[in-house]
């Protein structure tokens, strides 16, 4: 064949060794390179050395982890950015033909998880297992009661919400409305039960985000402080605890008798700031009960 054209010696082959490694030599040149390599230990060793260095380089560069919350921040950016224009028509069509109940936002939050009771429980379990036990209490109720909830299209009136929540806790409605941005509508306010525990639970929703204020009465001996959780925000009168898992950010504090959680898919700092702003009033309200 054309072997005579490519009579590699060590020097010329070394010049083209990277191309050979990249599989970018013409077929006949590659063939000739292989026959040289078959007989030349030095060039084979050099080839091996380059191959190994390349995979080392790959490993070193790729061992760098992404910072925590970078993905969450990007998702938050996307949600606040406008949907790509060409889709707006596609969206409208989809909405017209398929009844999108419960919101694509929620399916998106859960990574297209199917909403069966079993998968719901296993989802809650898998998410919760990676955060401290006392934080799980609030997260479980949020996912069970808000994330999986089919909210009505229009938010209920304050009167309806008050009636459902009961007069005892109705002051919380006012506190939430005062602090949560107006694009969030109060969709639900009730007392609920999850895994044998009672909660006061208020949920707010914007186009694609959910916020829950979840309050549980403390059982004997329960305390963030006793569990040695480290407060996220220390320069505050009320110590604030934080956990983040997947798209959920939890900020919590405790009173003598209650555990109070703010859980959302907002950015971590925003979730913290919102809880920080509300905490004194919520705390005062609970202690007046």
């Amino acid at each position: 064949m054309t072997q005579t054209e490519f009579n590699w010696n060590c020097e010329t082959l070394r010049e083209h060794l990277d191309l050979y490694l990249d599989n970018h030599l013409p077929a006949d040149a590659g063939q000739a390179a292989r026959s040289h390599l078959d007989q030349c230990l030095d060039c084979t060793a050099e080839l091996e050395s380059r191959r190994m260095f390349r995979s080392r380089l790959r490993n070193v560069v790729r061992s760098d982890d992404t910072p925590p919350f970078l993905a969450a921040r990007i998702r938050a950016n996307l949600r606040s950015a406008q949907a790509p224009t060409r889709w707006q028509r596609a969206w409208a069509l989809t909405v017209a033909t398929v009844v999108i109940s419960l919101g694509t936002a929620i399916a998106y939050q859960l990574g297209a998880l199917r909403l069966t009771a079993a998968s719901q429980e296993s989802y809650i379990a898998s998410v919760s297992s990676r955060i401290p036990a006392l934080m799980r209490v609030g997260l479980g109720d949020h996912i069970h009661c808000s994330v999986y909830r089919k909210f009505p299209k229009d938010p209920p009136t304050v009167e309806e919400l008050t009636r459902k929540l009961g007069p005892e806790y109705s002051g919380l409605i006012h506190i939430l409305r005062k602090h949560v941005p107006s694009e969030f509508a109060l969709m639900q306010a009730h007392q609920c039960r999850y895994h044998g525990r009672r909660f006061v639970h208020l949920s707010l929703k914007s186009d694609a985000r959910l916020i829950s204020l979840v309050i549980a009465r403390k059982s004997e001996g329960e305390s963030f402080e006793a569990d040695k959780l480290i407060p996220e925000l220390v320069h505050t009168d009320i110590p604030m605890y934080h956990s983040g898992i997947q798209r959920f950010e939890l900020t919590a504090f405790e009173t003598g008798s209650h555990l109070v959680y703010l859980i959302s898919d907002l950015a971590r700092a925003r979730n913290n700031a919102l809880m920080l702003a509300m905490a004194p009033e919520v705390k005062a309200y609970l202690s007046s009960l």
């Binding site: 380089l57 990007i74 998106y108």
Partner: protein
């Protein structure tokens, strides 16, 4: 113009204007891309499935190009925001990873004047021509830090092709498309970039006294 640059990373409007043609020419990659599998999904879900898994690669490459993790975070956010804004024009089945890298280098080029660690090619060309006669062997004992340090020391344009081809394992053709340069340019920068990297590695190794001795004329 310079005002725009200094507003980074908020000045997205300038960038997105130039984005429509970004995916032109990128190979279809049916093995790894969604195609018909994700065709029926909502854009958010498609983006989640097709684009978001590449965040780590984008961030790592940005870190090595910019030499700074904070800046890399900003740029990664910008890349995904740009990608989202033009995702409507992204053809399902096109190589999404390559498309994201193309946006990455688009963003980097847009801001590169600010970043002295990414000098323009003509400033470094002479230096390279003068230094490429001898190619030292790759030292055997190197720490991760030494490897990264050597990589960071080679000029940005060369570092970019080494990262794309040797680390991210793009083909020459995809690398050319991503960097918007001819394939011949990719090949020559790659060859020089690899040689420069080996020189830097040899220098590092020598300074620790672990490398093989340099050839005659290079020893001090």
């Amino acid at each position: 113009m310079d005002n725009n640059v200094s507003q980074f990373p908020q000045n997205n409007a300038t960038n997105s204007a130039a984005l429509p043609s970004l995916h032109a020419g990128l190979r279809k990659d049916p093995e790894t891309e969604g195609g018909p599998l994700t065709a029926g999904l909502a854009p958010e879900q498609r983006f989640e499935i097709e684009a978001m898994p590449h965040l780590r690669d984008i961030f790592q490459t940005a870190t090595r190009i910019l030499g700074d993790r904070n800046r890399a975070e900003d740029v990664a956010q910008e890349v995904f925001l740009q990608a989202w804004k033009s995702f409507g024009r992204f053809e399902p089945g096109t190589n999404c990873r390559a498309w994201l890298f193309k946006i990455l280098f688009h963003c980097v080029n847009h801001h590169r004047r600010k970043w002295f660690r990414f000098p323009l090619l003509k400033e470094t060309e002479e230096f390279i021509e003068a230094n490429l006669t001898y190619v030292p062997p790759i030292p055997e004992q190197l720490t991760d830090e030494e490897i990264l340090c050597a990589l960071d020391r080679i000029p940005g344009d060369f570092r970019a092709v080494v990262l794309l081809v040797d680390v991210e394992e793009f083909s020459y053709k995809d690398a050319a498309e991503i960097l918007a340069v001819p394939i011949g340019t990719v090949m020559s920068r790659l060859s020089r970039g690899r040689k420069l990297l080996r020189e830097q590695l040899a220098a590092v190794a020598q300074s620790y006294g672990i490398g093989k001795p340099a050839p005659e004329g290079m020893q001090s």
